[in-house]
């Protein structure tokens, strides 16, 4: 029974990572940049939803929608102002700019909303399912997160694989110049990528804070880094990979704590990551690209 309850905790933590990782992968796989500000967009999304539901008394559904709208706009604006001028620069230059944006968002949040933590009200309430005479509890938010994660993964897979915009995104991710020669509006495509990534960030923020309700200006940064790790573990650019990577990371974290040592939990998670990559150097579902010589 302990095993099962650990597994469930792992799945629910993992699905939060996964949902963040999906947004990460979207931008990471297509714009080919590590958007370290992603975690902070998540934080903004959570704050928007928080204020909308507590101070604005909006229904949670509208809270989430509003958060998505705000984050989408924020994502697109950030892309336009901070990343677009660097289209021709090295990816590292963009990475550093993203770090600047991350600091910017965190410190703006600090000034706007103060450093005092807020307690987020779960958008689906705190109900939980009790199984085996209450020996096993599954919270509703965990179920919602996992389901949301699956739906988003499926939708993204369909979108990038089947739609015209999705194909344009793949083309941009490989060669922006050639994509332009195909008649693809690269700037627009990348904006759409950021819009989707940021909308997902809003959802992720709301779900993250529903499950783990402390909300602070730094709330997004650690989950952001873990989700990035998860995205790499799953294989860069692979949408199902991001999800599997996220869930695995969560499960390993909980099992590591539960069965080995809480003191070593970070080391365990990262050791498993390293071992996995040593065995499979392109992540779990990453494509092995053999360079033609």
């Amino acid at each position: 029974m302990t095993f099962l309850s650990f597994l469930i905790s792992g799945l629910s933590l993992g699905s939060v990572y996964a949902i963040i990782a999906l947004g990460y992968t979207m931008v990471y796989g297509i714009a080919k940049m590590l958007n370290f500000a992603h975690g902070d967009v998540i934080m903004v999304g959570a704050y928007v939803c928080f204020f909308a539901t507590t101070r604005g008394n909006l229904h949670p559904v509208f809270g989430v929608l509003l958060a998505m709208v705000v984050c989408t706009i924020l994502g697109v604006v950030i892309e336009r102002l901070a990343y677009k001028p660097l289209r021709a620069a090295t990816s590292l230059a963009v990475l550093i700019t993203a770090i600047g944006v991350s600091y910017f968002l965190q410190n703006s949040a600090l000034l706007l909303w103060s450093s005092n933590p807020k307690v987020f009200t779960s958008v689906v309430g705190n109900a939980s399912l009790k199984l085996f005479d209450g020996q096993l509890t599954i919270s509703v938010i965990a179920i919602v997160t996992i389901v949301a994660c699956l739906i988003i993964m499926a939708a993204l897979t369909w979108f990038t694989g089947k739609t015209k915009m999705g194909k344009a995104m793949r083309a941009c991710s490989e060669d922006k110049g050639a994509a332009q020669l195909m008649g693809i509006n690269v700037n627009f495509t990348i904006s759409v990528t950021f819009a989707i990534g940021s909308a997902l960030a809003a959802i992720a923020g709301v779900l993250l804070c529903s499950a783990y309700p402390t909300l602070m200006p730094t709330t997004g940064s650690m989950p952001g880094i873990k989700a990035f790790t998860a995205a790499v573990l799953g294989g860069i650019g692979s949408i199902p990979g991001a999800m599997i990577g996220g869930i695995l990371l969560g499960v390993i974290e909980i099992f590591g704590k539960g069965y080995i040592s809480t003191q070593l939990s970070d080391a365990i998670v990262f050791s498993v990551l390293i071992l996995t990559l040593l065995i499979k150097p392109t992540g779990l579902l990453g494509k092995k690209i053999n360079e033609k010589v």
């Binding site: 600090l110 909980i254 003191q263």
Partner: protein, 372 residues
């Protein structure tokens, strides 16, 4: 509610140039970053005290707080900035690790420090001119164990502490050794870190599995609030015992206070106390900062009043050099007794440690109630 709305950095009651008529006091603390709540609280508390004292027209203070991002390196930078400004006595650093670093500098520079909240023993150890306003961590640890044993609060105890945090680990260390001494049964010890402070299901499951009926939580209230919430969703309802960092949990915006029902803690301050001094302070704080003050704010407030008392006793004047002030304060501090928000008749040992009695509090219906 912003932290930075209040009037001016350095209020000047008379409207005249403070120059040599005001004492320059300053401190460092995390005003940005993940620990910013503590720094801002201490700063705000001190600021209220400065405004009050300046309004009296006697001793005048000029207060400056520099951001240290909860980092030893930045804290030394911040402290040096204060030196350039001409600081005459300091409020040290708000948190422990930066506190250890800055207090070593202040010891060398002969600038007196009274820190509101840097509670690690290493902050004061071997430094005759560094004093604490808060309990030192070991005291909290052993006092908590003693309290639990005396009142027979729990038979099987679980401890969850933050493994990469000086404060949390410091209290844990002495709690454990004292508990051993008192034959308290610790049945579960688990940890978490800055990087993994979201999910506590494993820690709670361990405590539950081992039948713990009391969980000792030497940590700040933010992770504690998550523990309370997650335990509830597991249908696990042990007693909780916290330390001074737990204070503030009721002020968390939008917190479901019923989760904290029955949580006990040792703290020198509670915002719900009904004495005039506290009521007055809380009211002012809420007006200025739109938040309820926590214990850091109270400690910051008390530090300024302690300085006032010491200055009066020692006959120090604003035109004196920092080093001279330091020598006088070193002599006078062990002799004075101060009444403040965090304790009546507080006195200091020559080691810099404060002596005040912690109050055992329990949360009932969303307010703190004295346990004794």
């Amino acid at each position: 509610g912003g932290t930075e709305k209040p009037p001016a950095e350095t209020p000047n009651a008379g409207g005249k140039e403070p120059a040599a008529t005001a004492f320059k006091i300053g401190g460092t603390g995390p005003l940005t970053g993940g620990a910013a709540i503590y720094g801002n609280a201490a700063k705000n508390g001190a600021q209220i005290a400065v405004e009050e004292i300046n309004a009296l027209g006697g001793i005048q203070f000029e207060l400056k707080y520099e951001d240290d991002e909860h980092d030893a390196e930045k804290a030394v930078n911040a402290y040096n900035k204060l030196k350039d400004w001409g600081v005459q006595m300091t409020l040290g650093s708000v948190t422990s690790t930066p506190g250890v670093a800055t207090s070593a500098e202040m010891f060398n520079d002969r600038i007196f420090a009274l820190t509101p909240s840097a509670s690690a023993p290493a902050v004061t150890e071997g430094k005759d001119n560094v004093y604490q306003m808060c309990f030192a961590d070991p005291n909290q640890g052993s006092a908590s164990a003693q309290y639990i044993a005396d009142k027979k609060l729990g038979t099987k105890i679980a401890v969850i502490y933050k493994n990469d945090d000086v404060y949390s680990k410091g209290i844990y260390n002495t709690f454990v050794s004292k508990a051993k001494e008192l034959n308290l049964a610790i049945v579960s010890t688990t940890t978490f870190t800055e990087d993994s402070q979201t999910d506590f299901s494993v820690q709670l499951a361990d405590a539950k599995k081992n039948g713990a009926d009391l969980i000792f939580l030497p940590m700040y209230y933010t992770p504690a609030s998550l523990i309370l919430q997650q335990a509830k969703s597991m249908d696990y309802s042990p007693k909780y015992f916290g330390v001074d960092g737990m204070d503030g949990i009721l002020t968390l915006e939008n917190f479901d206070t019923s989760l904290a029902e029955g949580v006990m803690l040792l703290t020198p301050f509670s915002a719900d106390a009904t004495d005039e001094r506290t009521v007055n302070f809380v009211k002012k704080y809420q007006e200025l900062f739109k938040e309820t003050p926590n214990q850091f704010a109270a400690d910051g407030y008390d530090v300024v009043y302690a300085y006032k008392k010491a200055i009066e006793t020692a006959g120090i004047t604003p035109d004196m050099k920092a080093a001279d002030i330091c020598e006088k304060l070193v002599q006078v501090f062990p002799t004075i007794s101060v009444d403040g928000l965090t304790g009546e008749k507080m006195t200091w040992a020559k080691t810099g440690e404060v002596s005040k009695t912690p109050k055992g509090m329990v949360i009932e219906k969303g307010t703190y109630v004295g346990m004794d």
